[in-house]
């Protein structure tokens, strides 16, 4: 199978995908009720769509193509209200968070579609352990070469996205010490990590065709990279975020990415270099483990600072672009998060310290998601 043509898309348009947890309202464990939820959503007019995910307690919503932060919020709110209406009817709760804090992966069931069945046969228990919930952001790029260039330019900011969205401190009932433990589940997959350093679409096509000839991959979907091109949409897709606890934060992070991309397109601050990746895994790990407090090594200056400080520096640089895109409100809120409010992982930990009952934490996550 050859790689499809990189479709044209309007630069800087964006789309968001969010994987949500479906929980029962009795003990707030994951509920295998996605089929019921999808049945109730059938025929309901929403922008974007709702889809099943690999196990039967995960639901993925996606927006249509949006130009601005506000448009994103409007679409997400519409989808959320319809989803909540259906969930209410079924006595289910919906919430964000990169992991369910106490579900047992052995209890999960694969959602029956040929693709999920294939993945389950291939990856075995990894696929059930992959009951983790992420946010993906698509950004429209002017063309294929620009998309690849953007993909590698964005790699510098991956720790920002992880630290800001991190919301998965608990796994299987224990505090992992990580702000985003979800990413560790992704790392187990053989084709995860970063895309090869190729800046020209022809080279990338060649690489892809070579990989398909090896029989290792069939389509772009088989790559679990942190950022990957999505030729049929004409976008690049940032995939490292945990699903945040609130819809607003999900939209803010998308707006942040959009502003970074605009700065890259307009100011062209630095052309990506292979050497940028020398610190990539270290920075990424620091973000997963310590969130905003993690150490960030600047790949160009080799300075060390906290991820928090690097986000604040970036926000200063982004200001004119955020204003231009209508995302300055979003960036202001993220600045407050970085300065003092912290990320959702911190919120979850603080709540558990106070409540000492993970089901109660999930209940309040549902409230955060519905407000």
């Amino acid at each position: 199978m050859s790689l499809e043509r990189f479709a044209p898309s309007r630069p800087l348009t964006m789309g968001v995908e969010l994987e949500l947890q479906v929980v029962n309202r009795h003990d707030y464990d994951l509920a295998p009720s996605v089929e019921d939820l999808l049945r109730l959503m059938k025929g309901i007019d929403i922008p974007g769509e709702v889809k099943p995910e690999i196990t039967d307690c995960m639901i993925e919503l996606s927006t249509g193509i949006c130009n601005s932060y506000q448009e994103l919020i409007d679409q997400l709110e519409l989808i959320r209200s319809e989803l909540l209406r259906a969930a209410d009817k079924l006595n289910l709760g919906l919430c964000g968070g990169g992991t369910h804090p106490f579900q047992q992966w052995t209890q999960r069931q694969i959602f029956e579609t040929p693709r999920f069945r294939h993945l389950s046969d291939l990856y075995g228990y990894l696929s059930k352990q992959f009951t983790v919930f992420g946010q993906h952001v698509h950004i429209g790029c002017p063309g294929p070469d620009e998309a690849l260039c953007m993909l590698h330019a964005l790699s510098r900011y991956i720790p920002h996205f992880i630290a800001l969205s991190a919301s998965s401190p608990y796994v299987q009932g224990v505090d992992t010490g990580f702000d985003s433990a979800r990413i560790n589940s992704v790392t187990a997959f053989p084709l995860s990590g970063r895309a090869p350093f190729l800046l020209c679409w022809d080279d990338f096509t060649h690489y892809f065709e070579h990989m398909t000839r090896t029989g290792v991959v069939e389509s772009m979907k088989d790559f679990y990279w942190d950022i990957r091109p999505k030729p049929e949409y004409g976008t690049i897709e940032v995939r490292v975020m945990d699903t945040p606890l609130s819809l607003e934060k999900a939209a803010r992070i998308a707006a942040y990415i959009q502003a970074i991309v605009r700065r890259q397109l307009v100011e062209k601050p630095d052309r990506p270099l292979e050497d940028d990746y020398l610190v990539y895994s270290f920075n990424r790990f620091q973000a997963c483990r310590f969130g905003l407090d993690g150490v960030f090594v600047d790949p160009r200056t080799l300075e060390h600072r906290t991820i928090r400080d690097d986000i604040l520096l970036t926000l200063d640089l982004l200001e004119p672009h955020a204003i231009e895109l209508g995302g300055d409100g979003a960036c202001h809120e993220l600045r407050l998060d970085a300065l003092n409010r912290g990320n959702d992982a911190g919120w979850i930990r603080a709540l558990q310290r106070q409540e000492n009952l993970l089901p109660e934490v999930v209940r309040q996550q549902c409230l955060r998601w519905s407000q």
Partner: protein, 401 residues
């Protein structure tokens, strides 16, 4: 002299086999039978528990059967109270506000069950008071069987949730209606004062005890970790205390614990996570519940009442099916799920038995007819009900097979 000494320490012959011996044998046999049933046949264990009870009755093991029915009844009431409170606390009646079609569906299936069973029985010449009583009792599904099968096989999903909720609701309707009927039958028997005072006393009294119990458990759950030993002991104590109080005051040992659970759950937002039947001791009590209920029934009743049982159960199934399916789509259920839900609502058992026994106690003249009409169905469902519930939940893919 030597001989005399020997005689003094050797037991007399035949051995004096006491009640404890037979209770121990019963437990061992029950445990083995339950496990065998589960491992080799994939049956819910409670089928074997009830069957063991019935076998003891048939075999006429004197020291056990000799316990008066009223003695067994105390044990049964205690264990049932525990199970009913647990069920009440498991369901969330606030769901009805979010999805009013559920209430419509519940009223429809229970109402139709009443109407269909009444007309069927009346057509077959059953006297009106008995036909009405059985129709009222037949509204209820089986809380004991349903909650046991759900917890034993860890059933999860939409059908399970609705099954638990609708079973709670139709049990409440049935108990209320039976109490009102009791009043009405008193007045028909020339006791108009009793017509009002009996239901009024039983309902308000039971409600008060329910509120007290709910309040007590609420206080407990605020101060103690539910999984702690202290909490288990107190919770157990409170439920048993409430049951004792209900028995002393001649109130409903069914309604109060069920309502207490419902009230407790509907007042709190914080999830309440408990082990099944609250503890291992609770589980043992539930095992005993099914053995004892088996001992109080006789398989002979199934033989004599087989035709009536099948008639009653099929009429009732159709009624429940129509009631559930009429609102399935509106309430967010697929038709297939509607059918499995109706099937799982078909069992009737211990609650029906207790309601019938109490009615027979108040109106001795009706006892004979009541038993002959209803108990065949109860015996049949004690054995087949758990299988039916399990099968229905497997069909809806909520029990992993």
């Amino acid at each position: 002299m030597a001989l005399g000494a020997v005689q003094s320490f050797l037991p007399s012959w035949p051995l004096p086999v006491g009640g404890v011996f037979w209770i121990a044998v019963t437990l061992v046999v029950t445990g083995l039978a339950g496990e065998w049933c589960y491992r080799h046949l994939g049956f819910p264990r409670i089928v074997a528990y009830s069957a063991t009870g019935m076998a003891i009755r048939l075999a006429g093991v004197e020291p056990l059967v000799g316990v008066a029915d009223s003695g067994l009844r105390v044990v049964l009431d205690l264990a049932l109270a525990l199970l009913l409170f647990e069920l009440g606390a498991r369901v969330d009646v606030r769901w009805l506000r979010r999805n009013p079609w559920l209430l419509a569906s519940s009223v429809a299936e229970a109402g139709l069950s009443f109407v269909v069973v009444y007309f069927l029985l009346a057509r077959f010449g059953v006297s009106p008071p008995v036909a009405l009583s059985v129709a009222a009792i037949a509204m209820a599904a089986s809380p004991a069987i349903v909650s046991r099968v759900v917890s034993e096989f860890q059933s999860v999903g939409q059908v399970t949730e609705r099954l638990l909720l609708m079973t709670t609701l139709n049990s409440i309707y049935a108990i209320l209606l039976v109490k009102l009927l009791t009043g009405w039958m008193h007045s028909a028997a020339g006791n108009p004062l009793l017509a009002v005072s009996v239901p009024l006393y039983v309902l308000t009294g039971s409600l008060l005890v329910a509120l007290l119990l709910a309040g007590g458990v609420e206080q407990l759950s605020r101060r103690l970790d539910v999984q702690s030993e202290a909490a288990t002991v107190l919770l157990f104590g409170l439920i048993l205390l409430a049951t004792a109080l209900l028995q002393m005051l001649n109130l409903s040992t069914l309604l109060a614990p069920l309502l207490a659970g419902v009230v407790f759950r509907s007042r709190r937002l914080r999830p309440w996570v408990c082990p099944d039947h609250f503890s291992a001791a609770g589980s043992l009590l539930v095992v005993v519940l099914f053995v004892v209920s088996g001992m109080m029934l006789s398989p002979g009743q199934l033989l004599s009442g087989a035709v009536m049982a099948v008639l009653l159960l099929s009429g009732r199934f159709v009624a429940k099916l129509v009631g559930v399916l009429a609102f399935a789509r509106l309430s967010g259920l697929s038709l297939r799920q509607g059918v499995t839900l109706s099937l799982a609502l078909t069992p009737l058992s211990i609650v029906a038995f207790v309601l019938a026994t109490d009615l027979g106690f108040s109106f001795p003249t009706l006892r004979q007819e009541l038993n002959s009409v209803l108990l065949g169905a109860v015996v049949l469902m004690e054995l087949a009900g758990p299988l039916l519930v399990k099968w229905a939940l497997e069909r809806s893919a909520e029990i992993k097979s």
